[in-house]
């Protein structure tokens, strides 16, 4: 923006090789060390990926760089000049920009209003909307980030919201852009577009720091990778010298495999029998159309599909959170569509919701309270109708150990945990209810690789214990790993069914795009 800013001037007179240098950064939260003598050097004009499991300290490190947190030890050098980044304003002045993991857009405002919020262009005391729209359009065209400046943000998809966040950063003159897990919320198509944009930035002489725990995309898009593990710097290498296996080993500290899980056929009696189930979405349009399927004891049935094709509605109807407009869902002879959520749970139904922060946990409560929820009237959590806090604590400690929840203790507040560990809290509660039927919506969304493996282990154990399991996932790989049978949903309908052992991702992909089963096999063949 301002061509005379000191950072920029120096850049042109004596170009420092590194856009960003973090030297021996240490950050503690109480006794917990989130970053321990971490070093990071980001060359100008590269895409630098930072990878590491959830809780490895990636966000903390970036917050320090951007002035949102102060390091306990260490130095920061920006564009060859040692800088004390006291607040984000300092970082922005030095040409840094950050796109946070959680977007901060105002839904009722237009795209242009959001881009210029906090730095409005004004004329005669009034906001000059025409100028803001024009400037937004200019930026959008120059960087190939397609947006319609006058559209209201509430009408836009997550992918476009992210573009707006990037435009906000660009409008503030950033030359080094930090993106914290930008692809976690995107469809594969949107991710590809984002990568193209990032390459465009680099071609333009800008620098990109990009946090991820998705290995494929790191391999695809980055020039250099830095790996963090448990708050420590493990390695920084050119991406070209590394394989995916190398990255996994560095991230997790051991080998992890994502091959199809071996199994013996154990399918028993029908536990869940869904017949001609229909449901409507918020706009009163049919979102689930005529779904019929069964899930047997000792079997994992997967539901595949691009997000928003009726999977959420299906899960909500089964869990009693959304009325069915037609049809039935019998769980061991009882119709779930006629029961309240509490009665459904009592009927032997466990639910791991797709949005864990909304329906899975109470973020501001402790781990032990969250593990208690829903069974506060049962032993060993309560005795004679009175809560037994010792029992609650003992159960919590046991589950934290069994499910490997990484926390400071049972009284730790849940929202302080990383995504993977929050998910494990939900799993720990739902998997220990002795329910005959488990509905698991997006088992590993936003969960890192090491935790993914252990969650998959746990699901396989439930299968082995004779439970009927329904897994809904937008990640096809996950279903190919776990499911005995895969149902594919498109536009609210079940398009077809595929055996897990002989599943062919191409054919499933066709069905996900709306071809019915027979047509899909013809095209795929």
């Amino acid at each position: 923006m301002s061509d005379t800013s000191p950072a920029k001037r120096q850049e042109t007179t004596s170009p420092a090789e590194n856009a960003v240098e973090l030297i021996d950064i240490t950050k503690r939260f109480g006794a917990f060390v989130a970053n321990e003598r971490v070093n990071l050097r980001v060359k100008r004009g590269e895409i630098h990926a930072i990878i590491g499991e959830n809780g490895a300290g990636k966000t903390t490190l970036m917050n320090i760089l951007f002035g949102l947190l102060q390091p306990d030890e260490g130095r920061i050098v920006l564009n060859g000049r040692e800088t004390i980044v006291t607040d984000p304003a300092t970082a922005i002045d030095a040409g840094l920009g950050m796109v946070h993991q959680h977007f901060k857009l105002v839904p009722s405002l237009s795209v242009a209003d959001n881009v210029f919020l906090g730095m409005e262009i004004r004329r005669n005391g009034l906001i000059d909307q025409a100028a803001q729209i024009e400037k937004t359009r200019e930026l959008s065209e120059r960087f190939g980030l397609k947006v319609e400046p006058q559209e209201r943000v509430s009408l836009l998809s997550v992918g476009i919201e992210q573009r707006i966040e990037i435009l906000k950063v660009l409008a503030r003159g950033a030359r080094t852009i930090i993106l914290d897990e930008p692809t976690a919320v995107l469809t594969p198509q949107e991710s590809r577009e984002l990568f193209q944009t990032l390459r465009g930035f680099v071609a333009d002489g800008m620098t990109v720091i990009f946090i991820s725990h998705h290995l494929e995309e790191v391999m695809e898009v980055s020039d250099t990778v830095t790996v963090l593990r448990h708050g420590k710097h493990v390695a920084t290498r050119p991406t070209a010298e590394l394989t995916k296996d190398d990255l996994v080993r560095m991230m997790v500290g051991r080998n992890v495999s994502f091959d199809r899980r071996r199994r013996t056929k154990t399918a028993g009696e029908v536990v869940l029998d869904v017949k001609n189930l229909w449901a409507r979405d918020e706009r009163r349009l049919p979102a689930l159309r005529d779904a019929s399927f069964t899930v047997r004891a000792g079997e994992i049935v997967g539901i595949a599909g691009v997000a928003g094709n009726g999977q959420t509605e299906l899960a909500e109807v089964l869990a009693g959170l959304r009325p069915a407009s037609h049809g039935s869902a019998m769980l061991k002879g009882r119709d779930l569509t006629a029961l309240t959520p509490a009665a459904i749970r009592d009927a032997g139904f466990a639910h791991v919701p797709g949005d864990r922060m909304v329906r899975g946990v109470d973020g501001s409560a402790s781990i032990s309270s969250n593990l208690l929820m829903g069974r506060q009237f049962k032993a060993p959590w309560s005795r004679n109708g009175v809560l037994d806090w010792d029992g609650v604590a003992k159960q919590a400690v046991e589950m934290i150990k069994r499910f490997d929840i990484r926390a400071r203790g049972p009284e730790d507040t849940v929202k302080r945990l990383s995504g993977g560990n929050i998910q494990k809290v939900v799993l720990a509660r739902e998997f220990t209810n002795d329910a005959d039927f488990l509905l698991i919506d997006q088992p590993t969304r936003g969960v890192d690789i090491g935790a993914q493996e252990s969650i998959h282990d746990e699901i396989m154990r439930q299968r082995a214990a004779g439970r009927a399991v329904l897994v809904i996932s937008v990640q096809l790989d996950e279903l190919l790993t776990l499911a005995d049978r895969i149902l594919v949903m498109f536009n609210g309908r079940i398009m077809g069914e595929v055996e897990g052992d002989s599943a062919d991702s191409e054919r499933i992909g066709m069905m996900m795009a709306g071809l019915n089963a027979s047509a899909a096999s013809e095209v795929a063949a």
Binding site: K104, V106, I127, P286, P323, D335, T340
Partner: protein
């Protein structure tokens, strides 16, 4: 037909605009706090102290304008107290609002007793009311329709002119934009360095300003007197309108006009000899029912969720175990 003619004529429209004005003013004031994300049920109290101190100022100074200023200052003091408790000390908005309403009611009664030694109302020659504004040329141009635009007291004009100003304010000024952002997405405001506290204080005080004007209009406008509890629920009606309009100035205007019309209409009905206690309830009922009907689709989440859970409970009790007979519509 004749009866209809008698009921619906220019005079009724004029009466509608007149009765709309005070509730519109106070509701527009509440629009600032609503947009800033504060649920302000203290409007009633702010309006009441506005009305009382306007009369007091008018008697003491002999000037209607100073009277209005006194009313506004009193309402601002209440608004500031509200902001300090709610914004700075994070007290519960409903509790603070109710407490201030009760305080306003009690305070005006006891001050009335202490200063004038009377109960019930302050009347008398010494209260100087606001003059009526005659718009020059209106009579010649509009003939019998002239009263529609000319001859109101100043606050009526202020109220209606404020509507387009507020529309512009929210759309095109920085403060208006920040008020909306703070109400809608405080995290966004914080991330951009906008002070939530400062914006909410400003919104509360702007609200006090308009509520004070509304109060002054009540006691120095068409009637020049103060009676106990003379705001008579207008502040609460304004709150209802604000809930359904989400503070949007044009929707606030529509809601207030509806209320004003029902009010004027019921007064008209009274002259036909219907029992007055029933008639007096009419505007409130009409306004509430209409508001509810109008905004049923976009009803606030709290109401929606309550209705849904009630429906669910009822349907579970009545629904037989084997369903599937109600076809998708």
């Amino acid at each position: 037909m004749e009866i209809l003619d008698k009921l619906l004529n220019v005079a009724l429209l004029v009466a509608t605009l007149r009765t709309t004005a005070p509730i519109l003013l106070v509701a527009l004031g509440g629009s600032f706090t609503t947009k800033a994300g504060i649920f302000n049920i203290g409007l009633e109290g702010q309006m009441l102290v506005g009305a009382f101190f306007a009369v007091l100022g008018s008697i003491w100074s002999g000037s209607a304008l100073i009277g209005v200023a006194c009313g506004v200052v009193a309402a601002l003091v209440f608004a500031l107290a509200f902001a300090v408790l709610v914004v700075s000390f994070r007290a519960n908005e409903v509790v603070v609002g109710l407490a201030l309403n009760i305080l306003a009611g009690g305070m005006t009664i006891s001050l009335m007793k202490a200063i004038f030694g009377t109960r019930g109302s302050i009347v008398g020659q010494k209260i100087v009311g606001l003059p009526k504004v005659q718009i020059p040329g209106a009579r010649d141009l509009l003939g019998s329709w002239a009263p529609l635009v000319s001859g109101y007291t100043p606050m009526v004009y202020v109220a209606f002119v404020a509507v387009p100003f507020l529309v512009l304010f929210y759309k095109r000024t920085r403060l208006g934009l920040y008020i909306r952002v703070v109400g809608e997405k405080p995290e966004a405001a914080e991330a951009l360095g906008i002070s939530i506290t400062r914006v909410r204080y400003t919104a509360s005080l702007l609200c006090g300003l308009l509520a004070g004007l509304a109060g002054a209009h009540l006691s120095l406008g068409y009637i020049t007197m103060f009676t106990e509890n003379m705001s008579s629920g207008r502040g609460f009606m304004a709150v209802a309108i604000l809930i359904f309009s989400a503070g949007d100035p044009l929707k606030v205007l529509a809601g207030c006009l509806l209320f004003g019309f029902a009010d004027a209409f019921s007064l008209r009905l009274q002259t036909f000899g219907f029992p007055s206690y029933l008639i007096l309830a009419v505007p409130y009922l009409v306004a509430l029912v209409a508001l509810f009907a109008l905004s049923y689709r976009s009803r606030p989440r709290i109401i929606r969720e309550t209705l849904e859970s009630m429906k669910k409970m009822l349907s579970v009790e009545t629904k037989p175990a084997e369903t599937g007979n109600n076809l998708p519509r």
